[in-house]
């Protein structure tokens, strides 16, 4: 087990290296990063000074080595807009995003898994049809549109919920539900198809033959085995969730990392953009690492070789 964890950790190193390369290249895509990193009205002297201070006049590979060393210590330079360390700004906003992500996951799992189980056990009946229709819609409706609809219906027409901001729980309801909707559809879909597989297995038949209560068979024996693929999907969908965070936080003025990213992009505050891309990619890699480890823990048959 220890060697498995170690090997899995080592495997993340090339990915992390790739992340550093891409974040570096981001500001070099348009040629001279001076145009991106300095305000448009900067003087020629200021530009020249900036180039020599930041080593932009040196060869590209030297610049990259310098960037990689600073990135490894979490130093992405100073925000042009806030004049604070870019990484600090991102870390300050992280709790708000974590709160939103946790609420979203709770909703997605709390609705998605039971919906998938019901659809599988009621296969072909009305409940299954309804759940499958909602699943199709969940794939088709963009989360930002759902957010706008939520604001129109619950904030503008009914006046039940606030349109945005962060503070009390009422402000969490709309963004979390919006963000959860696509995930609910996906989790329900995977749960349904895994449950259909598991319910055909011999051990389910055995449990039923022994006279185990049907609900116990479904929710304990079967679901436990169906849960492993669901977990993998959740890990892979963290990328989707992080992308959704950017849009949802923007719509609902939620003061998290996603909104910071968009504001930084609009303001061409590229040190902050680089820091966000880096942090999001690292979170994504870490979550998938944890999922892989959980996977091995949950299913003893998966070898650690």
């Amino acid at each position: 087990m220890a060697s498995y964890i170690l090997r899995r950790l080592l495997l993340t190193l090339p990915v992390l290296a790739g992340i550093v390369v891409i974040t570096f290249l981001l500001t070099r895509l348009s040629g001279d990063p001076t145009d991106l990193l300095l305000p448009p009205n900067a003087t020629d002297e200021a530009r020249a000074a900036f180039r020599s201070v930041n080593g932009l006049d040196r060869p590209l590979w030297e610049q990259f080595v310098a960037f990689a060393i600073r990135a490894a210590t979490g130093d992405f330079g100073t925000s042009l807009r806030f004049e604070q360390p870019a990484m600090q700004l991102v870390l300050d906003r992280l709790p708000a995003t974590a709160e939103l992500a946790a609420a979203t996951m709770a909703i997605a799992l709390g609705i998605g898994i039971p919906a998938g189980v019901i659809a599988a056990t009621q296969r072909g009946k009305a409940a299954d049809g309804l759940i499958r229709a909602v699943m199709l819609l969940g794939q088709a409706i963009p989360s930002f549109f759902l957010g706008v609809l939520g604001i129109i219906v619950f904030a503008v027409w009914l006046r039940w919920l606030p349109t945005g901001g962060r503070g009390d729980w009422a402000q969490l309801v709309l963004p979390a539900t919006t963000l959860a909707f696509n995930l609910v559809a996906l989790i329900a879909r995977v749960t349904r198809s895994c449950m259909l597989d598991v319910l055909k297995q011999d051990y389910v038949r055995t449990a039923r033959a022994k006279g185990v209560w049907e609900r116990r068979v479904i929710w304990l024996h079967a679901l436990r085995n169906a849960f492993i693929p669901v977990l993998t999907v959740i890990g892979l969908q963290v990328g989707l969730l992080l992308g959704g965070v950017v849009v949802t936080e923007t719509i609902f003025s939620w003061p998290g990392v996603g909104r910071l990213a968009i504001q930084a992009i609009y303001a061409r505050d590229f040190p902050v953009v680089q820091a966000v891309v880096f942090v999001f990619a690292v979170i994504f890699v870490m979550v998938n690492l944890v999922v892989d480890l959980l996977y091995a823990l949950l299913d003893p048959r998966i070898g650690y070789k």
Partner: protein, 303 residues
């Protein structure tokens, strides 16, 4: 996917006419598939000739007619069925014109993804060895990224022109194509007709283009239809964030973004383009499902 390939690996030339007809007939056997075809036909008609179809100019502004509600509401006017936006432009006309950018960018992006992905997948599956290893690592690495944020950041750097959007979105999608093609090639590679082609001295390029590609085409087409849906979502998201094709060119995502500020006066400005996006994505997904079932009757329905 491998089952799809095995199915289509049967001689494709013999009676291909009737097979094509059979696939079309089974694809459009159900009413959701027919409805989806209708939706897409409409959307493509909008995209091709918006000015012919739109009831009036989508760009002309009339501030005396700004933010009209839909025609069925008390303040609405009959000729503006879905009302007008904050500059008095007709919402119906703008939705019809918006189809052009959405479909153009998404379809072209999928073409870019498919071309790169098919080339990489063919190379990896056919050559094996270190070519395969390098391409696989690249695929894994790119799939390991939260791509939306990266696409947003890259578009912000290079600027949101139509060409840039197509290239950046296209580059974000190639690994999935490459993976599918690679898998399909691996299952076809050792079948007899490939050996036969090699035996009569066909070049590698010819074997790939004439013998392997036609046999994995149905898998690619099915996947491409899902991928167009995904790209429409991405294009709409970028437009919504102000990083799509710039105004005054109407885009569905952009219309929602502008319209959401005025939902108090007129809710259709923001809601109608959203329904258009959802309808087109839904149509591509339903048709993709139907096409997959028709091309591969052995595949068990699990979704």
């Amino acid at each position: 996917m491998s089952q799809t390939t095995a199915q289509t690996a049967l001689p494709a030339t013999e009676g291909s006419e009737s097979r094509a007809r059979h696939v079309l007939r089974t694809t459009f056997a159900s009413w959701p598939a027919r409805l989806s075809l209708l939706v897409l036909a409409l959307a493509f008609a909008f995209a091709i000739a918006p000015s012919l179809i739109a009831p009036r100019d989508a760009f002309v502004q009339d501030l005396s007619l700004r933010l009209l509600p839909p025609s069925w509401e008390p303040r609405g006017q009959a000729q503006y069925w879905l009302g007008t936006d904050q500059l008095g432009r007709d919402t119906v006309a703008r939705i019809i014109h918006g189809a052009r950018i959405t479909l153009l960018v998404s379809v072209l992006a999928v073409v870019v993804s498919a071309v790169i992905g098919i080339a990489a997948g063919l190379a990896a599956g056919f050559h094996g060895g270190w070519t395969d290893a390098v391409i696989l690592r690249l695929i894994d690495m790119q799939l390991a990224f939260p791509l939306i944020l990266l696409v947003i950041a890259v578009v912000a750097v290079v600027g949101p022109s139509l060409t840039n959007l197509v290239i950046v979105m296209g580059l974000s999608g190639w690994p999935r194509f490459a993976r599918i093609v690679r898998g399909s090639v691996l299952t076809v590679r050792h079948l007899e007709f490939v050996d036969a082609a090699r035996a009569i001295g066909a070049s590698q390029l010819r074997i790939m283009a004439r013998h392997i590609l036609p046999n994995i085409m149905s898998a690619i087409i099915v996947y491409a239809s899902f991928e167009v849906a995904r790209m429409i979502l991405l294009e709409a998201t970028l437009s919504f964030l102000g990083l799509g094709v710039q105004p005054p060119t109407p885009t569905w995502g952009g219309m929602i973004s502008e319209g959401r500020r005025y939902v108090n006066q007129s809710w259709t400005v923001a809601v109608a383009p959203g329904i258009a996006i959802a309808a087109v994505i839904l149509a591509f997904n339903i048709l993709g499902d139907a096409l997959r079932d028709a091309l591969d009757p052995q595949l068990e329905d699990r979704t």
